[in-house]
């Protein structure tokens, strides 16, 4: 392993805001991770995966960052039991490719496959299947955690160290370094989806449509328009799907379990600031809305249905050099007004967001810092420009008043006080963290910024 060698590296999150420098080390085996922890300086250490968090959770300015993507072996796949054991640095993309020929499927997939198992646990990620499958942590049967004392602990959801297990799920890498995990996976007949699309002309109609029959589908999410004002404000396209069976494909696809996820070349880093403005965002929203009329029972592949963004690598470059931020919140059922108010605030703000997702979460899990709770989650993304701070602060107030919260994997600008109020169990998490890492060896720019 190379340590303390060469220049520090500048790291950012996927949103390309707030760069900071850290010494990046690349471990080959668990012993390398332990050595990095044991030789931690005053700025501590932090594991990093594929850097898809939008803000600063995978940065550790002035300290050591362990690039876990070099630990990327899949150790075993148990088809009978429906489990897979893999290193933390394995991407969900790789995992899907390896699982599909066995007829196995990851129950929780976020909007991109380019995240690692370790990151998926640390952020307790969710996907379109949350209302049925819950979040990633619900499917972790055990995990190996390299702790601050230099020991490796195997944690299970109901074992003697269950507290530490659930503090690690959604714990943003601040309880230790996840080395690997055993995950529960689902069985599928094909790699395709049978998709029902509903085009709805207003936010009220969209939410009404989404509120019924969601449980009949394993995957469900809506795209909505937050740029077009007037009576069509919040119009959108609800797509819901179940895994297609071999019978559904009716012989059109020779290999039903083929990893069918076409992609384009990488986006070049040539976009000036201001590419995404009111004009382009309106045009984009119009096209996005029109291209998806109501149709039921359509077979779609992985890219079409699950991961439209993975079609082009480095799509974050479109937002220009100042970067962008994602704002994702959840408010409980019954607080539908908060969603409406947020959409109105955004549409009236002059800030534009093209890729907006509205989804209903199912039950949450036991992790104190896990984001999903039953309710509506809305995700928007804005290119950073003047005045965005004020809009986000206003949205924070709406979310707080509704008893909602922000997603740490996307957070990049709120205050420590606001976050503390959004996560009422944060002190319980802090106690577990203090017990396992009393001197705060594991730290990140996120943990410094929000005084986690």
């Amino acid at each position: 392993m190379e340590r303390e060698q060469g220049q520090p590296r500048l790291l950012t999150g996927w949103g390309r805001t707030s760069p900071s420098a850290a010494t990046v080390v690349t471990p080959r085996e668990p012993g390398d991770v332990i050595r990095a922890i044991e030789s931690a300086g005053p700025r501590g250490v932090l594991a990093r995966g594929l850097g898809r968090s939008y803000g600063d959770p995978a940065q550790n300015s002035g300290g050591v960052v362990i690039d876990m993507t070099t630990m990327d072996r899949i150790h075993s796949i148990d088809t009978a039991a429906g489990t897979v054991t893999a290193d933390a640095g394995v991407s969900l993309d790789t995992l899907m490719r390896e699982l599909l020929p066995h007829g196995l499927w990851l129950p929780v997939l976020p909007g991109t496959r380019q995240v690692t198992v370790g990151g998926a646990i640390g952020s307790d990620i969710h996907g379109k299947a949350h209302h049925v499958e819950g979040s990633f942590g619900n499917h972790v049967l055990s995990l190996d955690l390299a702790c601050a004392d230099g020991r490796i602990r195997t944690l299970t959801p109901d074992g003697p160290d269950a507290d530490l297990f659930w503090a690690t799920v959604g714990g943003m890498g601040l309880t230790g370094v996840v080395l690997g995990a055993t995950l529960h996976v689902n069985r599928v007949e094909t790699a395709y989806f049978l998709v029902d699309t509903d085009q709805e002309a207003s936010l009220a109609e969209l939410m009404a449509r989404q509120a019924v029959h969601d449980e009949d589908y394993v995957e469900s999410a809506a795209w909505l328009d937050v740029v077009t004002t007037g009576k069509h404000l919040g119009r959108g396209v609800l797509t819901r799907a179940n895994h297609a069976t071999v019978a559904d494909l009716s012989g059109k696809h020779a290999d039903p379990l083929k990893f069918d996820a076409p992609h384009l070349p990488s986006v070049p880093d040539v976009f000036p600031p201001g590419m995404l403005n009111r004009v382009t965002a309106r045009a984009f929203s119009e096209v996005w809305y029109r291209k998806s009329p109501t149709r039921h029972g359509v077979v779609q592949n992985i890219t079409q249905f699950l991961h439209p963004l993975d079609v082009a690598a480095n799509w974050n470059r479109v937002y220009g050099p100042r970067g962008f931020l994602q704002y994702q919140f959840v408010v409980p059922f019954g607080a539908e007004d908060a969603v409406r108010e947020a959409v109105h605030l955004i549409a009236g703000s002059g800030h534009v967001s093209g890729l907006n997702v509205l989804k209903r979460f199912g039950a949450g899990n036991r992790a104190p810092l896990s984001f999903p709770t039953p309710g509506w989650t809305l995700c928007v993304d804005f290119p950073v420009r003047s005045g965005l701070n004020e809009l986000c602060d206003r949205l924070d107030a709406v979310v707080l008043a509704a008893g909602g919260r922000l997603y740490l994997a996307k957070e990049s600008r709120t205050t420590a006080d606001t976050l503390q109020r959004m996560y009422p169990r944060i002190d319980e998490w802090r106690k577990i963290r203090a017990a396992t890492d009393p001197t705060g060896i594991f730290s990140s720019d996120l943990s410094r910024r929000l005084a986690l």
């Binding site: 220049q7 520090p8 500048l10 949103g15 805001t17 707030s18 760069p19 900071s20 420098a21 850290a22 700025r43 803000g55 600063d56 550790n60 300015s61 002035g62 300290g63 100042r322 970067g323 931020l325 950073v384 003047s386 965005l388 701070n389 004020e390 986000c392 990049s412 600008r413 205050t415 720019d445 410094r448 910024r449």
Partner: protein, 251 residues
């Protein structure tokens, strides 16, 4: 940490009574109150500055600092960073004084050079070391258009700012790999205590206007800025004027 939309959580003002520096702290605080350390000579003026920022909701502490005693600068910087990261550091101290005395009286010349140039460099060295360890942060140095082309009326001041400007411009490159953005800001004439009673030059600015330029530069990680912005093109022309022409200008 400076967040995604450019809000810092802490600010160190070297030259704790600088009107531009205090306006910068106030401008940041309007978006988000922050922790401010005012480093300067203890006294009524420093206390008043602290009161002014506290009224805006910021948490303020004071740190004794004398630009003319370089031997203490490492210790001052260490103390400033003792309670946590410093997201923004503003090098905002300087003297203008009697510019005729400055080139005719040795003691006055030495004072100007020691404060404006030597002091700026020594705190710069101490800050660079500390900021490299931190791995992030913004360091802003207040230069002056007077350093861009020497004028008969203030060339000693101009020479100190030219030195400061070159040092911090180079430091910008040196600290880039460490995640630290160094910004050199070059205001034109600013209405402050320093310029009280002087005839205002064209494109003159208030401290608040300069503060807006500084804050925007920090938020967008700009490495150099002029206040006002168009001063950049004015100075670009002035720098290239032949001496016989420049000499006759009323600047």
């Amino acid at each position: 940490m400076i967040d995604a939309v450019g809000n810092p959580q802490s600010l160190l003002l070297l030259g704790g009574t600088s009107e531009i520096g205090l306006a910068v702290a106030e401008t940041f605080a309007r978006s988000r109150p922050l922790r401010v350390i005012l480093a300067g000579r203890p006294g009524e003026r420093l206390d008043a500055a602290a009161q002014r920022l506290r009224a805006g909701g910021s948490t303020v502490s004071l740190l004794p600092f004398d630009a003319r005693v370089p031997a203490t600068h490492t210790e001052v910087v260490e103390k400033a960073f003792a309670d946590g990261d410093m997201d923004v550091t503003l090098v905002a101290f300087g003297v203008l004084g009697d510019q005729e005395a400055a080139w005719t009286d040795m003691a006055t010349a030495v004072e100007q050079v020691e404060v404006n140039y030597v002091g700026a460099v020594t705190v710069g060295v101490a800050l660079a070391e500390r900021l490299r360890r931190q791995g992030h942060g913004a360091l802003v140095a207040l230069s002056s258009v007077a350093g861009e082309r020497a004028r008969r009326s203030n060339f000693v001041y101009g020479s100190t700012k030219a030195g400061l400007d070159a040092f911090y411009t180079g430091l910008t490159e040196a600290l880039r790999p460490d995640g630290v953005t160094v910004t050199v800001v070059r205001p034109g004439f600013v209405h402050t205590r320093m310029t009280e009673g002087m005839r205002a030059a064209p494109l003159s600015q208030t401290p608040e206007q300069v503060a807006d330029v500084v804050v925007r530069a920090v938020r967008t990680r700009q490495e150099q800025a002029w206040a006002p912005g168009p001063m950049r093109w004015v100075m670009s022309v002035l720098r290239h004027l032949p001496r016989p022409v420049f000499r006759k200008l009323p600047v």
